[in-house]
Symmetry: C6
Subunit: 282 residues, 6 copies
Amino acid sequence: MDTARIGSNPEPQPELFYQATGSEVQLFEQADRFGMPVLIKGPTGCGKTRFIQHMAQRLGRKLYTVACHDDLTTADLVGRHLIGADGTFWQDGPLTRAVREGAICYLDEVIEARKDITVVLHPLADDRRILPLEATGEELQAAPGFMLVVSYNPGYRNLLKGLKPSTRQRFVAMSFDYPDAATESHIIQHESALDPARADQLVALGNAVRHLGQHDLEEAPSTRLLIHTARLIAAGMDPRQACEACMAQPLTDEPTAQAAIMDIVRLHFAEPGQVEARKKIA
Amino acid sequence: MDTARIGSNPEPQPELFYQATGSEVQLFEQADRFGMPVLIKGPTGCGKTRFIQHMAQRLGRKLYTVACHDDLTTADLVGRHLIGADGTFWQDGPLTRAVREGAICYLDEVIEARKDITVVLHPLADDRRILPLEATGEELQAAPGFMLVVSYNPGYRNLLKGLKPSTRQRFVAMSFDYPDAATESHIIQHESALDPARADQLVALGNAVRHLGQHDLEEAPSTRLLIHTARLIAAGMDPRQACEACMAQPLTDEPTAQAAIMDIVRLHFAEPGQVEARKKIA
Amino acid sequence: MDTARIGSNPEPQPELFYQATGSEVQLFEQADRFGMPVLIKGPTGCGKTRFIQHMAQRLGRKLYTVACHDDLTTADLVGRHLIGADGTFWQDGPLTRAVREGAICYLDEVIEARKDITVVLHPLADDRRILPLEATGEELQAAPGFMLVVSYNPGYRNLLKGLKPSTRQRFVAMSFDYPDAATESHIIQHESALDPARADQLVALGNAVRHLGQHDLEEAPSTRLLIHTARLIAAGMDPRQACEACMAQPLTDEPTAQAAIMDIVRLHFAEPGQVEARKKIA
Amino acid sequence: MDTARIGSNPEPQPELFYQATGSEVQLFEQADRFGMPVLIKGPTGCGKTRFIQHMAQRLGRKLYTVACHDDLTTADLVGRHLIGADGTFWQDGPLTRAVREGAICYLDEVIEARKDITVVLHPLADDRRILPLEATGEELQAAPGFMLVVSYNPGYRNLLKGLKPSTRQRFVAMSFDYPDAATESHIIQHESALDPARADQLVALGNAVRHLGQHDLEEAPSTRLLIHTARLIAAGMDPRQACEACMAQPLTDEPTAQAAIMDIVRLHFAEPGQVEARKKIA
Amino acid sequence: MDTARIGSNPEPQPELFYQATGSEVQLFEQADRFGMPVLIKGPTGCGKTRFIQHMAQRLGRKLYTVACHDDLTTADLVGRHLIGADGTFWQDGPLTRAVREGAICYLDEVIEARKDITVVLHPLADDRRILPLEATGEELQAAPGFMLVVSYNPGYRNLLKGLKPSTRQRFVAMSFDYPDAATESHIIQHESALDPARADQLVALGNAVRHLGQHDLEEAPSTRLLIHTARLIAAGMDPRQACEACMAQPLTDEPTAQAAIMDIVRLHFAEPGQVEARKKIA
Amino acid sequence: MDTARIGSNPEPQPELFYQATGSEVQLFEQADRFGMPVLIKGPTGCGKTRFIQHMAQRLGRKLYTVACHDDLTTADLVGRHLIGADGTFWQDGPLTRAVREGAICYLDEVIEARKDITVVLHPLADDRRILPLEATGEELQAAPGFMLVVSYNPGYRNLLKGLKPSTRQRFVAMSFDYPDAATESHIIQHESALDPARADQLVALGNAVRHLGQHDLEEAPSTRLLIHTARLIAAGMDPRQACEACMAQPLTDEPTAQAAIMDIVRLHFAEPGQVEARKKIA
């Protein structure tokens, strides 16, 4: 089968581009040194996942990433029994593999998970650093190098969900935000090969749209979204059309909010694209 | 077994009729070039599915279509273990097949799916382009040519559902609408062999009914519905009877709304059909 | 095993009695000719099921009937894996059998089904006429002669249920109602062997009860219910007693509504039956 | 194994005592003659189950009784696949056995069942008299003698439950109530061997408690409960003590309602029993 | 395996201490004589379980006890199919064992069970005394000596739960309460070896706390709780400390209610224990 | 497999540091002597888990710890059947192992468990000390030394959850709180090697934050959280930065509450750390 095992990294990977914006690298390294779990907060697409990929490379660790959701069961994390020719056998889940191998286990959008997930995390997230596998009767001691990292977006107001205080207080926490204008323009140029002038224009446009506020948009445009737009512009597409396809349409379904974004777009990119009346594709 | 595997396309298919109405083809090709996922919005029966079938033919890709619904599980998309003579074996789902083969995977009405579905999409819908198969421990890198396409109808006001911003911002998006009158008449003639004069009459009737608005109809009549009507008229059925069977009855159960539609029908098709009082079949 | 396979019809069946009341037969035949799915609306017991049995005989097709309900799963329609001596094997459900054999598949009370059911219907209900079997990876092209028919009763006001516009607009639709008095009397005489005079009396009584309206009865008496009553009268039972057992008691549990019905009964059938005070059996 | 198969009745049973109170026996026989299903309404413990046992004996049919509840699945009624040495095999449920053998299938408290249950009943409860077994692909024609009987208590006001009109209108219905005083005393004497004078006293007491009404008691005392009381009195227990143990305590947990019942008891049975203050056993 | 089968009682047990407080023993024996099921009501820890253990010894019957809860399934009571080397085999549950062996089956806190549980009880709780095993097709006639006993605490006001009248009216019912002061002191001395003076003090204290009423405590202190306290005092612990650990802390989390209890404690046990301010262990 | 069985403790462990703060050790030993179960209440991170680890070492018992949650099933505690080469076999859960081996079973955050869990605890938590295994038909008598310990945080106001009085009254209960300042400073110094002066500063800061109250913080900072902060300070991190990463960010997502905490931090640690404006990592 032509597939790689999760985290097996059989060959050297090119180093990922990561632009540090504070002391997040040092704090992560201290947490690692003391075996403390790390909690990263921040909005969509601001670089949380990229940061953790970067730290895994820097520390020389395998990385197991699990995107959390409502139906993720403890078994999805820890493992389960499967039926083979000789009866049931146990198959480790990604968390268990990370515990055995001393890897980083990253739970993305952890507050989307059901609360029972946080419970298997508790004995891993204090001085015990153990993972009880109730289904097999094992109790794993985490290998040196194991690190638990979780993230969520505090901007989503989910009254029913959230980490319990008894979970939160186990973590070292850091808060991410969008990069400053110069850094963001640098990132965009690196990822899209767009020229500096138009990258700056795009960052200014992005920040203008970010000021529209919550009553217009569910969430502000991310750095990732600006990179998408930059790629289409660098490929020769009309900037207004690129902004409609990568910014106005993905951000909202509301015609008035789309119009407000396109007004801002027209202020930043003067030459008009032909916006069709019947079928809008930008 | 006399059935074709999904997407196996063993023999050349006749080219599908598709009438482009803007730059949607070019935008789709750019998204494909950069490996970006595509989101298509638009009302029922306006040609979204046909467009994607057309693009799959044009790009020479296999197409896997999945109609989303509340009970679609991640396993339905990704695959599952089955029990065979020698124990369990793994069977790929349509998304996994598309990822392995470099095909297009189209998730129709994606907001009908549970939110956990969108989570397997995240690592496929950013620069990583990977599909972690938690149940087998594999992590697939998408083959070149793989493309993720999703669609939904923004006209359905579903307060509980909707794409999360962290999902939406990963997509290049385009918005479809009904074609203009000349294009729609052309499509109807092509699909039903109805004469141009009556096709034009039918389009005018369709647009008149579309102006009835939301307090009368849950959704406006689609191009597909006009094609149905045209086929029955072209087969010799009385136009009023065809309009009742293919338009008034499918659009609504409300007698007053049905009467409003039939009033409009009578304005466009003067010769009367015998509408029975006791059992209405139009 | 002394049982017939669904729809196998191994021997000629006597022709079912069906009294057409409009052009429903012709419309059904046109829909069949164009491979369009058919939607039949109408109240309880007005002859929808009988009509479809009749059309299946007339067109020489096998008929698969599925009564829909809340817990009907897609697997119940499409099929499922069972475990045999050599591991799992696939067993077709009734929809899949109809698709393979070119038969009629009739989903009775389709709005009782969960919405995920309607989704497997979509690719069968447009020009594609395909049934993707996600569990096996097959994609079936419907055999010639396959026809999808669904029905529901628009009189049930179910706010949570209903067909989505994207489903409705795929169907040719027709609306059934109770037959006119002469036809209904004819049907009753044919089915119960009651004499014409008392059959006419019974139809007049039925129509009088139908005028009681919704605040008295959840649903008006059906033709089927009048046939039941007629059979007991023809068998020699006192008409008032037959009307209480087959009409007043089945229609409602409310004493006042039962009394209102029995008042109408007494107006139509003058000779008194002995209604007991302590235990009412009519 | 020292157990009888359901309904196998290997040896003649003594005839059950049943005291008819109207023409219910004749109506049941007519419904049987025409193959019509029967619906019996009535309060707790008024003799519905005993009546059906009586009719099964009288008609010489096996009887399958199923007590319905929220979690009763269609498989519980129809059957299911079990896993044996050679893979799965099918095991009939009680409804399927009754259909094959021409027996009576009695669904007690049918409105407690989920609505999907009623759906397997529909094709059995009209002229088709068929039972489709979707899991095996069979379609059983009911053997001659098969009869479907259902019951419920209309006094329970369950807003969420109830039979749909499309179900109700398939049944011949009859309504049971408590027997009149002379009949009830006769039944009590027969079942408990209590002397006629005290049986009459007990019936008078029962009817007095039945007049307490719904704001005091959830449901009035049944004939069964009076038989219980009579047996303890006939065995020599003080009547007041027997009435508290078999009537006041089972009917309610409310001290005021218990006191109201005991006041009535003292009016009918003058000699006092020693009611203890600390632990009341009556 | 060093474990006893439920109810197998392979060797004579020492007779359990039980202090009768009324005619409960005689009523239970009458119910047994007539094969009637028994319902016992009463608050937490007043001796219901001990009474039934006592009656099982007295009548020479095995006892199967099942603690009921929300997730107890019918299969937990009746039995289920397990998979062995030769396919599935049936394993009796505790209710089925009691029915086969003529034992007592005691369902503790029966209103915690789902209502479907009560349904398997119905045919066992009337004259039929049968247990239909739908999964195997058996219908068991209860062996002589089988007795069904259920209990609940009427003090819990659970609006959603409760026995249906059709269930309640099948039982002979008795109501338990706390013993009178002399009896309770006797029980405490017997179970804890505390001296009579301090046992009397403890009973007086318990009754004083019982008068605090419902707005202070969810439920009054049980005899069992007084025994716990007595054991620690008899072992030499300061009475105030024992009362805090066994009475104030278990009864409530509310500081004001704990303080109210400790005020009463100090009135009954004059010599002060050192109550720490920082960590209260009493 | 390189893992230890739960509780097998194959080699001597270094003695855990535990600072007693009252007579909790003596009370625990008395409860153990009488076989009484123990309930420990207290806020997050105040030392409950450490205390139980300490007592297990002191009493020379194995310790089985189960973190409770909504989806913990009885089978997770008691055991379940697995399928092996020769059919199903039974595997003990942690509670069953503790019962067989005479170990301590500790259920952490027991009110998070579903109520059915508490039911398997009842016969273990009174004089019977038995564990009925309904799935196997066994009834285990707890080995000498078995001890049941549960804990929860009474500060979480969960209206839907909570121990039933019939459960609570079976336990000897003790209440934990944060240690006094001298003890807490001693614990911090022992666990982090921070110097006494700054440990005292940190305890003063922690107590100041604890006075912010519930309208600012969901729960006050725990001793564990202060230890985390102390470790980073002892490792050379700026105290303000350490306090933001280990205290302000983990305690809350609210900017105003974070600012309030940081104001208090600045009052206790005068030298300023460079707090970045764009990305806060503290």
